[in-house]
């Protein structure tokens, strides 16, 4: 615990000093019964504490996975659309686009068991029994090439499984690597010689439309007020007819990763930007909406503050977000 920020240790010391005052209790609440604790205290720690007795093999795990998980996570746990991929990606963590999966990223197997046991399948959590969870986790290991197809996972051999990225984590080191540098008096004047725009969000064109034309506002609001509360889509996995893929389909023919759907076109169309005067802006009742600038206009035509050539389009690595934008950058 020596790694904690100093601030924390200081406050902890204060708290400890105040400990005698804690002796007083209010006598509120009631003692939790053992059955209640058993029902809720399900977490599993890296050393296996919390694992129930049980076992399951890759074969059974495959069946269970196809039945309960594949609709979202893909037949081979490779992911589907924007749903999380659970397999693959080993060796990609230092790449431009790391693929983080149970196999490539998770440091502890306990986390996989615990998470599947308590939180999956999405929309039907806590519906699997321990043997089923062992089997599914065995299948996820198999999908990640970490075990063979005859493998059986149990509470007894659980800690024998080596996770590829087990040593891939360090404890927060900002206190040492960042704070000393950034706790300096900042520059106020002549802080740089030139300033050049190197990238513009408009070029990507991935911002949602937020127009609420004033003319429509009234109708929209009225409709919203009258509309019945939106039903939440249900997330029971839609049962798909089991795909007729041979059980031990050769690896090479398994799609390793689904190509993400292209959501936005990567290239900015080269149309001239429409000129919008301040006057017309001020007079526009919808002036507060975001897309004052017609979408897809070429920003290079806009005058650059520094007077230097606009940096877009250029060949700088800053172009990468274009491909980024077609992936799901939010970590669900």
């Amino acid at each position: 615990m020596s790694k904690f920020p100093k601030l924390l240790t200081a406050t902890a010391a204060l708290t400890l000093a105040a400990a005698p005052a804690f002796a007083d209790t209010f006598g509120l609440g009631r003692v939790a019964l053992p059955e209640e604790i058993t029902a809720w205290d399900l977490d599993v720690s890296p050393d296996g504490t919390g694992l129930p007795v049980g076992s399951g093999n890759v074969m059974d795990g495959d069946d269970l996975f196809q039945e309960n998980c594949a609709v979202c996570h893909g037949v081979f746990a490779e992911g589907s659309g924007n749903w999380p991929e659970l397999a693959g990606g080993v060796g990609t963590l230092a790449d431009d686009d790391p693929v983080k999966t149970v196999g490539s990223y998770w440091p502890h197997l306990s986390t996989a068991w615990d998470y599947v046991n308590r939180s999956m399948p999405f929309g039907n959590a806590q519906s699997l029994n321990p043997d089923e969870v062992y089997a599914i986790v065995a299948y996820m290991l198999y999908s990640n090439d970490l075990v063979d197809d005859d493998f059986t996972l149990s509470n007894e051999n659980f800690l024998d499984v080596a996770m590829p990225n087990a040593d891939g984590f360090i404890v927060d080191d900002r206190e040492a690597t960042e704070y000393p540098i950034w706790r300096a008096e900042p520059c106020m004047e002549n802080c740089k010689d030139t300033v050049e725009i190197t990238m513009r969000a408009r070029v990507l064109d991935v911002t949602p439309e937020t127009d609420t034309p004033a003319a429509q506002t009234e109708t929209v609001t009225a409709a919203a007020a009258e509309a019945p509360p939106r039903r939440q889509p249900r997330h029971r996995p839609r049962r798909r007819s089991r795909r007729s893929i041979p059980r031990w389909w050769p690896r090479a023919r398994r799609s390793s990763r689904n190509a993400p759907p292209a959501i936005r076109s990567a290239k900015a169309p080269r149309t001239a930007p429409a000129r919008i005067s301040t006057a017309s802006l001020a007079g526009s009742s919808a002036a507060s909406r975001i897309s004052v600038i017609p979408r897809g206009s070429t920003p290079c035509a806009t005058k650059d503050v520094s007077g230097t050539k606009p940096a877009w389009p250029n060949s700088s690595p800053r172009r990468r977000p274009i491909s980024r934008a077609t992936r799901c950058p939010f970590p669900v």
Binding site: S45, A125, D172
Partner: protein
């Protein structure tokens, strides 16, 4: 002006002399009217007829003219809206308190509907007596009020590799700031009885919802300032923020603020749950990842002008406004640059910064009608200065996803419109 002696407010004299200095511009823009304003010369319907009676809206929403000040989500980010995120319309808000109704939401398995009657909180693990509290029990403990910001660790995460989303709402809207009422977690842990050494122990906190979102928190922090909250901004928590009870973990990443809090287990180690291994860990350029990066470092953003808040007036006096915050304590200073970081001016804090809460800053200035590259940088009580994107990237690369507290740049154009840009 009975409160003119209040030292926390800018003095009236300073304000007046500032106004005098800009008098020329004022005179210039106070153009003579061509014809009388009918809004003044003609009797308007509201000056003649009647408005709504009381109870027209027993619980009111903002007037319809503010209908676009709403949370928004970015559809392409997530597969569905159940495990997803939306964004606070920070561009359109002022002051510091975020109304609950437009405060960002992040769910891992949807916002659940739970009554106070069905609510239970279990404290177990390394305690003298494992306990169960009902909601009514919680209300009988001494309670406290605190204003804190709650920022998702992934706020601004889409901007690591470059300027991507055009609007403060989308780049910085995974944050809200509320006044919480609740019972210190320390009080409840004490009720269950802690014995032995605090050092090296943890609590694991988890929610009632199906995601069972769970996080390990060092016991020191749990005993320091964590709050088991049931009200925000004076009323019950909203469903989407964990009604009836959520955990408040001041200054630390939003994912730890477990909603629908159901269990606190005192443990001798971290669980290393999915939310603290697979997610909320920050991958560096060399592929190793930082874990336990809980504190949200100092950060600020200009909310207006910004892409969703173009300047709608001509040259002359204007207010540049924004928010600053730090998980390490209070904001002490915010600087603003109009030229992309060449020169900086210190902005005015609306109130002295408060620990782990949003601070509003204003730069009361003149716009010459030309281009501006607006930036703000926050400084907190530890002396930490908000870094540039380049500084962050140098240490972390571009794959961290989380904890992007870089200086943001808006390019304000002569038209008054603004764009999210990156500058050299």
């Amino acid at each position: 002006m009975t409160d003119s002696s209040n030292p926390t407010k800018p003095s009236r004299r300073a304000f007046l002399s500032g106004a005098a200095a800009t008098g020329a511009a004022l005179a210039a823009s106070s153009a003579a009217a061509q014809s009388p304003d009918p809004l003044i010369t003609e009797v308007q319907p509201w000056a003649s007829g009647l408005g709504d009676g009381v109870d027209a809206a027993p619980y009111g929403l903002p007037i319809r003219h503010e209908a676009d000040v709403i949370r928004r989500n970015v559809e392409w980010l997530t597969a569905d809206t159940i495990s997803s995120i939306n964004f606070t319309p920070i561009h359109a808000l002022d002051g510091t308190i975020t109304p609950q109704g437009c405060a960002f939401e992040r769910h891992h398995s949807g916002a659940i509907d739970m009554t106070k009657g069905d609510y239970r909180l279990m404290i177990n693990g390394l305690v003298d007596r494992p306990l169960i509290f009902t909601f009514a029990d919680l209300e009988r403990f001494p309670r406290e009020n605190h204003v804190y910001f709650c920022e998702c660790a992934a706020n601004t995460g889409m901007e690591w590799a470059g300027a991507q989303l055009n609007g403060a709402q989308f780049t910085h809207g995974m944050i809200h700031n509320m006044e919480y009422t609740g019972v210190p977690l320390r009080t409840l842990l004490n009720e269950a009885g802690l014995s032995g050494d605090v050092a090296g122990k943890w609590v694991y906190v988890e929610g009632h919802d199906a995601s069972s979102n769970g996080r390990s928190i060092p016991l020191e922090k749990a005993l320091d300032d964590c709050l088991v909250a049931f009200s925000a901004n004076g009323e019950a928590l909203r469903k989407e923020h964990g009604y009836p009870v959520r955990l408040v973990v001041p200054g630390w990443e939003g994912n730890m603020w477990v909603k629908w809090l159901r269990r606190v287990e005192v443990m001798d180690g971290p669980v290393e749950s999915r939310e603290e291994t697979s997610k909320y860990t920050d991958t560096l350029a060399d592929g190793t990842s930082r874990k336990w990066t809980w504190v949200m470092d100092a950060k600020s953003i200009i909310t207006s002008p910004s892409p969703q808040m173009p300047i709608k007036h001509g040259p002359g006096p204007m207010v540049i406004s924004g928010l600053a915050w730090s998980g390490h304590g209070a904001i002490t200073r915010v600087d603003v640059s109009k030229d992309g970081g060449k020169t900086w001016q210190t902005a005015r804090l609306a109130k002295p910064g408060e620990k782990m809460a949003l601070t509003r800053f204003y730069l009361d200035t003149e716009w010459d009608g030309g281009d501006m590259l607006l930036q703000s940088r926050a400084i907190d009580e530890t002396g930490y200065v908000q870094p540039t994107k380049a500084q962050l990237r140098e240490i972390r690369g571009e794959n961290s996803i989380y904890h992007n507290n870089c200086i943001q740049t808006w390019h304000v154009m002569p038209t008054g419109e603004a764009e999210n840009v990156e500058v050299s």
